[in-house]
Amino acid sequence: MIRSITHPQTRAWHRAHLLRHRRMWLIMAGVIGAVLLLTFSGYFGEVAWLTLCDAVLRTTYRLAIAYSIALVLGALMALVVGWSPFSDILFPFFDILQNLPSFALIPFFIYFFGFTSNMIILFAVSSIIWPILFAILTAIKSAHKDLSDAATIFGAKGWRRIPYYLAPLSFPAMLTGSIVGIAIGWEAVIGAEIITNVAGFGDFIKEAGASGISQALVAGTLVILIIVFVINRLVWAPLLTESSKRYAE
């Protein structure tokens, strides 16, 4: 279950995160080595690589779309709620909503959208949105009053407040919210695919695993591991480094 993200973006936190990433490199080198070894030894001879690639691409595509929608929607909701005088009323309402076990909602999504790719995307949005929304909301609510006053005095009023003050203010929170959200998103998309049998990575490993541990299952797991790692290294790690440089106290 998702918990609201309330921890501050401290330097120590970022440092710990970066250190973890460095260790991840070592582990990943091991994983890639194992993949190569297994490939050369002919272990993956039976694997339908094209089907696997197709499945992984479908899943990644769904996650990307779901994340984009969740980011825009979550950020918008956080801005509206954080800004409005009703935030104190709406906050507990969101807290209850985010604590709903997301997979309990899947029958509703299936009822309204059928066994479709769009259903999976929307279902994933409903999981990814919470950590993003809460992280940004917390960042806006907990910002120092002086900083908000400074923004007002020096002219960031009305709609300009969003691009010039609220957006950069909540950038580190958006980052952590996104990292948590995407981790949950993989779970949601793959889980939904397993449940609904809609073509994708979830469906692929379900088929592959139906008759016990097969080469295809191992290959699929390794591929997804590598994709997650690459996204981490190429997208999140540089953003975290930048954020820790700028937002350190």
Binding site: H144, D146, L147, D149, A150, A151, T152, I153, F154, G155, A156, R160, Y164, Y165, P168, L169, F171, K245, R246, Y247, A248, E249
Partner: protein, 248 residues
């Protein structure tokens, strides 16, 4: 020294303000009346909890007042904060350029002006540093440059020196007096150090807490530049210390 023919930058008459704390309403400012002549240096002193910062927020319109009138004869107020309140996502230069950009100035021009202001406060070489990489004194100088950049007609300073060490504060104070003389802006400063208030001010407003109101307004007529070691200076400091001691 303000003279009678001078314009008045700010007038407060019987201004009161409340804090809404859930259901409870706390009176934080009661019947505040004073005026600030344009181009003068006015200090507000008083114990913590006297509502000095609230007064500044009310004057700037960041917080509503519940009764009384405020006449604001200024159009471009700026503020320098106790905790600097620099935007951590912007470099020193972009922090200074922020107000100019918001006022619609082109990027290149805003950066040029900002660079000049940074040089004026002695930080031209640190333009590309983020606030996190600056010391307290440097941050406050960036804060001052950010305020000066928009050519303010009223500069509000909320205990700008209280987070700085003595040596840093002294050099910043000297620079501030220089800036005040050359710009001719009106400065309203919250201060908790009486000698500082006497050194800078044309007029000192002494506030009392629970609820925050004015105990007395003391004009300082010492000639400028002020000799902080003269007998007259010490006399004024003594007088003011007595006035504040009676309330705390």
């Amino acid at each position: 020294m303000p003279n009678k023919s001078q314009q008045i930058a700010l007038v407060l008459s019987r201004v009161s303000a409340n804090f809404e704390d859930g259901k409870e309403r706390v009176l934080v400012l009661k019947d505040m009346s004073f005026s600030v002549p344009a181009g003068s240096f006015v200090s507000v002193v008083g114990p913590s909890g006297a509502g000095k910062s609230t007064l500044m927020r009310v004057i700037l319109g960041l917080m509503p007042h519940t009764s009384g009138d405020i006449v604001r004869n200024f159009s471009r107020p700026a503020m320098v904060f106790q905790n600097y309140a620099l935007f951590p996502w912007l470099t020193a230069l972009n922090n200074v350029a922020f107000g100019l950009r918001m006022a619609g100035m082109r990027k290149t021009e805003a950066r040029k002006t900002a660079k000049k202001k940074l040089e004026e406060v002695g930080l031209g070489h640190l333009e590309n540093h983020y606030p996190a990489a600056l010391s307290g004194g440097q941050r406050q100088r960036v804060g001052l440059a950010r305020a000066l950049a928009i050519s303010p007609d009223l500069l509000i300073m909320d205990e700008p020196f209280s987070n700085l060490d003595t040596i840093t504060a002294e050099s910043l104070k000297a620079d501030l007096l220089k800036i005040w003389r050359s710009y001719g802006i009106t400065i309203l400063m919250v201060n908790h150090l009486i000698p500082d208030a006497v050194e800078f001010s044309d007029q000192i407003i002494v506030m009392v807490a629970h609820p925050g109101h004015i105990k007395s307004i003391i004009p300082i007529d010492l000639p400028r530049p002020r000799d902080t070691r003269s007998a007259q200076f010490f006399k004024e400091v003594d007088l003011l210390t007595e006035a504040t001691r009676a309330i705390s």
